[in-house]
């Protein structure tokens, strides 16, 4: 009690690689780790090494999903003229997840024989 926090972690704070003097204000949809090739420019064989270079821990995956969600929200929902397209994307994604969840439940409706 009364001491500086020992074994300090940066949970809830900016990632350690982020430096405002270099990167400017923090943007939640950007990756501040070591610069690497863009995922869309990778060849098939480079995908797995690329993923191994990335932070795959719990915090790393959480940051990934957070970045993607925030980016999608910024692009499709917080735009000047929002026509509800982001909502539709959201609904479709969760419909797909619901379909996966009900996969086994719906197998009793299968009535095919050969395929």
């Amino acid at each position: 009690m009364g001491n500086i926090v020992q074994n300090a972690s940066n949970f809830g704070e900016f990632p350690k690689e982020f430096n405002p003097r270099i990167h400017g204000a923090y943007q939640a949809d950007r990756y501040y780790g070591t610069p690497d090739k863009a995922f869309s420019e990778l060849k098939l064989g480079e995908v797995i090494p690329w993923m191994k270079r990335r932070d795959a821990s719990l915090t790393g995956t959480a940051r990934f999903f957070s970045r993607k969600l925030y980016g999608h929200q910024l692009r499709w929902h917080l735009c000047a003229k929002n026509r509800g397209v982001g909502v539709v994307h959201f609904a479709l994604f969760f419909s797909f997840l619901g379909m996966l969840r009900c996969w086994n439940h719906d197998r009793h409706l299968d009535d095919f024989k050969y395929h």
Binding site: V5, Q6, P20, C79, A80, L109, D110
Partner: protein, 392 residues
């Protein structure tokens, strides 16, 4: 809980203790005496040497003589078995420390600051924080800002902006790879095909599958999934049909024309109602507050005049009161004086009347018939004389 903890750690819970005669008997039995049943004291029999030396109630140990033992103990860092006298390699300060530690039950040799602790030798800074503080408060209290942030006042926005500019747009800033933040509210929605498919996705398929590739993939994929059994025709799938039907309904020309004409007005109305009007209300309120404040300021500047006016008003009231009282006084005094005057006049008149009446009554009373006759004769004589002298 103690019992379970001890069991889990494999420790014995405790040793049963004996008391009283049984304890003494047990201790006697544990002592190595020549006769086990009875303890005898014989002056001729040699007594056993004592197990330890006692000095003033303290057990005193002899220092070890073997230097190898001493070195081994010193390497073990078990300083309890080592005496400073056997360590000529220690300096004066170290011997002093040793002496203090030897004589004190709490002090350690070597002193605590030279000991290696578990977790590493971390220098911990203590910060006084009251009991009941949250973790955030503790962190904030113990936070020491860096040197270049210390001169910034907490509520000076200009200094904060200048510091932010210095940090975020300084010489190290990489504008090429990390450009400035773009307000998403200023950016229009990304281009879409059919309002739900991003344009890049739609256009990326064109070189591989032509213009109709997307439609073939979606519709054909839909039926293929049904045929394969991936997508089954069931109750919840109908909800997708409803939305597709409604979407197609809105794309029909009459409906589209109606929406294209009406929807912008509705959107404009909503925007005005929920965005522009609140802002305008706030601006108006602020203007009204500023005008009221300016009016108050002007009124305050006219307050000296108000003071003079009030003083003058009071003076007029006082003057009015004074004049009323003066009038009262005048009327009262005038009345009294008039009364006195009337009284005097009445008195004088009364006396005059009385005197006149008295005199005339006395005179009339004193008139005798002889005097009356003489008076008449004298009057006649005067008349005769007058008539002789008168000229007609």
């Amino acid at each position: 809980m103690f019992r379970t903890v001890c069991k889990s750690l494999g420790k014995k819970q405790g040793v049963t203790q004996l008391y009283g005669l049984n304890r003494l008997c047990l201790n006697q039995a544990r002592c190595n005496t020549s006769s086990t049943s009875v303890q005898t004291t014989d002056s001729k029999a040699p007594s056993d040497p004592p197990l330890w030396k006692e000095e003033d109630g303290w057990v005193v140990l002899d220092p070890p003589t073997d230097s190898q033992v001493v070195e081994k103990l010193a390497k073990q860092e078990d300083w309890t078995n080592v005496h400073y006298m056997t360590r000529p390699d220690l300096s004066q300060q170290e011997k002093q420390w040793f002496r203090e530690a030897y004589n004190s039950p709490t002090k350690l040799y070597p002193p605590e600051k030279f000991l290696l602790k578990r977790g590493g030798n971390v220098r911990v800074e203590y910060v006084r924080i009251p009991v009941g503080a949250t973790k955030r408060q503790m962190i904030e209290k113990s936070f020491v800002p860096p040197e270049d942030e210390k001169d910034i006042a907490p509520f000076d926005l200009r200094k904060q902006w200048a510091w932010a500019n210095k940090v975020l747009f300084g010489p190290q800033r990489d504008m090429k790879n990390f450009p400035s933040f773009v307000n998403p509210g200023q950016v229009p929605q990304p281009e879409t095909a059919h309002k739900f498919v991003p344009r890049p996705v739609f256009d990326a398929m064109q070189p591989y599958s032509g213009v109709t590739g997307f439609y073939v993939l979606t519709v054909g994929g839909f039926f293929a999934a049904i045929a394969k059994g991936v997508l089954i025709v069931s109750y919840p799938l109908a909800y997708f049909y409803y939305f597709a039907i409604l979407w197609g309904f809105t794309r029909l020309p009459p409906v589209r024309r109606f929406l294209d004409n009406r929807v912008p007005f509705l959107a404009q109305k909503l925007n005005d109602m929920y965005f522009h009007q609140p802002i305008q209300n706030k601006k108006d309120h602020i203007s009204a507050c500023i005008a009221a404040a300016q009016q108050t300021k002007d009124m305050i500047q006219q307050l000296p005049k108000l003071y003079d006016v009030q003083m003058e008003n009071i003076d007029l009231q006082l003057e009015n009161n004074y004049r009323d009282r003066l009038k009262e006084v005048y009327t009262e005094v005038r009345a009294r004086l008039d009364c006195q005057l009337a009284l005097g006049a009445t008195k004088v008149e009364l006396e005059k009347e009385h005197m006149i009446n008295w005199i005339t009554d006395q005179v009339v009373k004193n008139i005798t018939p002889d005097l009356e006759k003489k008076n008449i004769q004298s009057c006649l004589a005067q008349l005769q004389s007058l008539s002789q002298t008168a000229k007609i």
